[in-house]
Subunit: 170 residues, 2 copies
């Protein structure tokens, strides 16, 4: 199945000049959704993963499903102010300004081998911040997987020290 | 497994006087996560569900995993401005002001039999708006499932015309 052909292009979203990769057409296709989750799960084979962490909010869609398949737990990495218990946080640069991601301070331990999941690798800033959050707990980032990679944005450069896999490249 | 005992109580979040039910302790427990997804899936048995719809963002965590188990597609219901293609929307009353949920206009068709999923039934306003979105497309809401129900908020009253199941009641 050619998953890339099922993702829909939306011109000028969220602003003029951006060609947005819309995964909702993949999500609503039962076969494509199942195959995507199966491939993400297969990408973690042999790594002895103990926890999947996914980034709000499209990373949640795939993260928990893959955790179930791997028979491990799921850790949500969220936007600021959403997690109710004690958090750790990491800020990162945007084109204009900065953004922040948070994780519960007790979400992971030094023994954890983590699979990080998000839907899209663009410039890599959000994922790099997520990596730092995981490592602050002493856990290891064993692999990073994306459904889609926009190769022309070179986000992989920011994650050069890590093992990165994407299912669909543009 | 007593899932209710694995959910963590956080006092005074997001504001004083609220006892927040924190599901992250359930999510990070592999056995509890797996059992929750299995029970949500079992709750849809015999209904010939064709699509699962989940509400941003904790509904995304469970929704896609259940869709995978049922071998159907997943439709995200999102906060305003997040979905890139043509949307339909529904607003609902909050304690102070209103809020809105959106869904892609082409997400569902008249033939769809939908399982609606969210993590928590509180006052029921968000889910009622989600029900209206689904029905605007001509699709049928076959069942509504929640991981947690706060029975003292009587959210079930707003959904009295529908078949509602929750896994954990407080």
């Amino acid at each position: 199945m050619d998953l890339g052909s099922i993702v829909r292009d939306i011109p000028d979203f969220p602003k003029p000049g951006i060609l947005f990769k819309d995964i909702t057409t993949l999500l609503k296709n039962a076969q494509a959704l199942s195959e995507t989750i199966t491939l993400l799960t297969a990408s973690a084979e042999g790594l002895d993963i103990t926890m999947v962490a996914g980034i709000e909010s499209r990373g949640f869609i795939f993260g928990a499903a893959v955790a179930k398949e791997l028979d491990v737990g799921f850790v949500p990495i969220r936007k600021p102010g959403k997690l109710p218990a004690k958090t750790i946080s990491e800020s990162y640069e945007l084109e204009y300004g900065t953004d922040t991601v948070e994780m519960h301070a007790d979400a992971l331990s030094k023994k954890d081998r983590v699979l990080l999941i998000d839907d899209l690798l663009a410039t890599g800033g959000t994922m790099k911040a997520a990596v730092k959050l995981v490592e602050k707990t002493g856990a290891e980032v064993s692999r990073i997987v994306f459904v889609i990679e926009l190769t022309f944005l070179n986000g992989r450069d920011k994650l050069a020290d890590y093992d990165v896999i994407s299912l669909i490249s543009y």
